[in-house]
């Protein structure tokens, strides 16, 4: 079966029920594709077993890039390309370079982080958002399970697990 096409959706009313349901469903061996909630639910990423984001590493690397870029740029300009004496200082007056270095570090770290986040979350401007269930933007929590990821289990069995974990509805959803 093709991946990322056919899903079973569990609809939950209450965040506490949802949190317990996620643990139960995972314990029964079903792999959860994603959970959609109208607002951030505390502790959800813990029960889903998500690994920590590596975004801070990207931010650090982009920050370092900014630092290097700023220092080399200013050194090249002020020392090599067009040396000028300002305030009787040395051409390579490092303390003078620090404010610009700081700003470029912050700028590149921020831009880099946003860029990496968009790429890794598939947030391209032309990306078509896939809506599993519109009510996840209102008052329902939606647990999506990719059928292709759970081939070892029958669909009816998965639906049964969802029902018994407290889902008020169990639906199917397919994308083109």
């Amino acid at each position: 079966m093709e991946k990322d096409k056919n899903f079973i959706l569990g609809v939950y009313d209450d965040e506490d029920v949802l949190l317990h349901a996620v643990s139960e469903v995972r314990a029964s061996g079903v792999k959860i594709h994603e959970v959609f909630t109208p607002y951030p639910v505390h502790g959800l990423e813990d029960v889903l077993g998500y690994k920590r984001s590596r975004l801070p590493i990207a931010a650090f690397l982009f920050g370092m890039l900014g630092t290097t870029l700023a220092l080399t740029m200013q050194l090249y300009m002020m020392r090599f390309d067009w040396p000028m004496i300002i305030g009787g200082k040395d051409h390579a007056a490092i303390p003078d370079f620090i404010p610009v270095t700081f700003e470029l570090t912050v700028l590149l770290a921020a831009f880099g982080m946003v860029g990496v986040f968009m790429v890794s979350s598939n947030l391209k401007p032309w990306a078509q958002p896939r809506i599993f269930d519109l009510r996840s933007t209102d008052d329902k929590h939606i647990m999506a399970i990719d059928i292709a990821n759970n081939t070892s289990m029958e669909v009816a069995k998965i639906q049964e697990i969802l029902k018994s974990s407290g889902a008020t509805e169990v639906n199917n959803k397919s994308f083109e």
Partner: protein
Amino acid sequence: MAHDVQHYNLDQKFDFTAATKKSIFTVLIIGAALLVIGIVMAMFGGHHEEAAEAGGHAFHWYERLYANLWINNVYFTGIAIIGVFFFAIQYAAQAGWSAPISRVMLAFGNWLPFAGILMIVTFFVANHDLFHWTHAYLFDKNSPEYDKIIDGKGAFFYWPMAKGTFPAFYILRMVLFFGFWVFFFNKFKKISAAEDQLGGTSHWFKMRSWSAYFIIFFAVSSSISAWDWVMSIDTHWFSTLFGWYVFSSWFVSGLSAITLMVIFLKGRGYLEMINENHVHDLGKFVFGFTIFWTYLWFSQFLLIYYANIPEESVYFIERLSSDVYGPFIFVNLGMNFFLPFLILMTRDAKRNGIFLKLVCTLIIAGHWVDFFLMVQPGTLGHNGGIGFMEIGMFLIYGSSVTLVVLGGLAKGNLIPKNHPMLEESYHHHI
């Protein structure tokens, strides 16, 4: 899980055991021994060259002792008052996460009465040896030593007395600041103790009002005390940023001391409701305010360096071009910025007791170096440095403060058991 009901022992008291006291006393005795070695070395060594010096007055070993007393007076006063200040911040900001550790912060204020007495006594004993502006001839127009700049600043020290007599305004400020700080500290302690007895939310609201008053008073007094106690050593020199610079140095070392104390208590089995989330928040404070200190340090330095006005840049020339102090400028930046910044950058480091212990110890030692660099060049010149006397005095003060703070902590309930936000703190999750 977030909604389970927890039962913590809210009546726990810190037991200041004989073993703990003994180990602190050991440090105290080591410090005293080092101090004595340092004094003996200063008394019998290095005298001859100074005597031969033409012009300048001869250097005496006890000047270095006074300078050390002053460094530690100012530094540990700062740590003590920051404990009270951070406590007040929690109430003014209506913070809930910190409720169980608020008594730990407040306990640092126990040092304040001692600090005040030490400060005033040291001032009168050291007088000319620390503060150039205490010489009467500076204000005498007929004297060859008459100093127009210091004369212009004279009223700030001597008003309403005649310049060069008794520094009434200066002493008044010192007494006033310590008086009010101790008053606010006692007020907080009283309200907090009453809350333990009676419960309810009225004490919390009362505490919030008093915290706001204290913060307003502290905003003014912290700046002025920095000018009085530290900046006036280099009497000709001034920096408009100095009040905040000293405050930031105090703040980050106070935060480190609070964090260390919390980790220490946690290691002893107290404060069971404090988990890595609370420690993470303390770590973030320490991390953030090391950067804040660096920001102010550098802002002060950059403007002076860039403008290059002689009367301003003399402060850094005195330090950077000196064999004694030059290296410590970089030690200062390394210990207080680069190392904490790199070590505490990741999330795991802020949640891990070992990293925090390391960084907080580093910062407490590092900011002592910061104050060393503020006080010694102006008082001792090239006769200063870090030797046995400095390390000994730091250990003596550090262990005395620890004794007093832990002693104060042991007196009452460790946790404000009727704090209305305790429940919120249990579920703190970041």
